[in-house]
């Protein structure tokens, strides 16, 4: 068994409107930050987990993302592991 550090990033699919990102963008623009073309808000999950191998950990993170962490109707996810 190895201890693996994993990170799952969940973001909205391309083309899905992001009112939260737009609100953040407007706030930043009001604060005086210029040149912001787009803000998209997402979520990051950090894991420490025991697994047989980094590959097995990645497979498990992927499965958990599909089942719980991301909503496939509107979101996509990306899994990274560091041994």
């Amino acid at each position: 068994m190895v201890m693996v550090t994993g990170k799952v990033t969940v973001r909205l699919k391309e083309g899905v409107l992001d009112p939260q990102g737009q609100t953040i963008q407007r706030a930043l623009q009001q604060m005086g930050y210029a040149g912001i073309d787009q803000v998209r808000a997402g979520k990051t999950f950090e894991f420490k987990l025991q697994a047989d191998s980094p590959g097995a950990a990645k497979a498990q993170l992927k499965e958990m993302s599909e089942k719980l962490l991301a909503n496939p109707v509107i979101e996509t996810f990306h899994v990274e592991v560091v041994e």
């Binding site: 899905v16 409107l17 009112p19 939260q20 719980l68 962490l69 909503n71 109707v73 509107i74």
Partner: protein, 250 residues
């Protein structure tokens, strides 16, 4: 007809639903507990409003994996009646019992006010006492009620008559101003393909007595338990085969 109202940690409309059934329409009703997979042989499961599991991750995402929901998913697949209100609707989409999802309101604010709904389909167990196109007034109270589905899914819902309630103005027109949250096609409530699972964001259980501001929600409770169904409406809606089957069981 016996009703089971599920209580999740964070449910806050479970007692309202219970009271509407027990005290307003005098229908046998009991609470079901999220950690207990036993549905106590009820005929209809109600998933109430609230903030199950604090709405952590996404509204309904955690509740969907609770022990009671595994039984509810099986119950619904076998044709059992399931009615999700507000957070209950969110739980149903997360569970895959209804298509699409409820996103954060487009204006990013919590929406809490009376709305008008148009009954788009009165051939469901939940609306069979309503007239086609009947306008009902009841409250909404949600931050994430913005119904979203892919265009092809929306087409299918419309084509199959699965859109049961639409947000409209007082004249019954589904315009932009009467859409409180940015829902696609002004959708306020949908059923699954078989018609035995209904999800809706508005709160009929908060509109069952005139002292509450409206008693229009009563029509849904009466439809479900079969009170006054034939008396209401210009044409008697034909009961679905599903209802006949469940009646035969009772």
């Amino acid at each position: 007809m016996r009703i089971g109202v599920v209580t999740f940690p964070g449910s806050n409309c479970d007692y309202d639903a219970y009271a509407a059934f027990r005290h307003v329409v005098s229908c046998p009703v009991e609470f079901l507990w999220h950690a207990d997979p036993d549905l106590h042989n009820v005929d209809c499961v109600v998933l109430p409003g609230g903030f199950s599991f604090g709405d952590y991750l996404r509204a309904g995402a955690i509740a969907r994996f609770s022990p009671v929901m595994q039984s509810v998913i099986k119950f619904a697949s076998d044709g059992g009646l399931v009615w999700g209100i507000c957070n209950g609707f969110q739980v149903l989409t997360e569970a895959g019992l209804l298509p699409g999802t409820l996103r954060r309101n487009a204006h990013m604010r919590f929406a809490c006010r009376q709305v008008h709904l148009r009954v788009e389909n009165n051939r469901t167990p939940f609306t069979r006492g309503c007239r086609p196109g009947q306008i009902l007034m009841m409250p909404i109270a949600h931050g994430e009620g913005n119904y979203y589905a892919a265009p092809e899914v929306l087409d299918e819902l419309e084509h199959n008559g699965q859109v049961v309630f639409r947000y409209v103005n007082a004249q019954g027109e589904p315009d932009v101003r009467s859409n409180p949250n940015g829902s696609r096609h002004n959708i306020a409530g949908i059923t699954n393909g078989q018609g035995n699972v209904l999800g809706m964001m508005p709160h009929p259980e908060r509109a069952v007595e005139s002292i509450l501001g409206s008693a229009d929600g009563l029509a849904l409770f009466q439809s479900l338990i079969g009170v006054g169904v034939q008396a209401v409406g210009t044409e008697a809606p034909s009961a679905s085969p599903l209802i006949e089957k469940r009646r035969a069981r009772v």
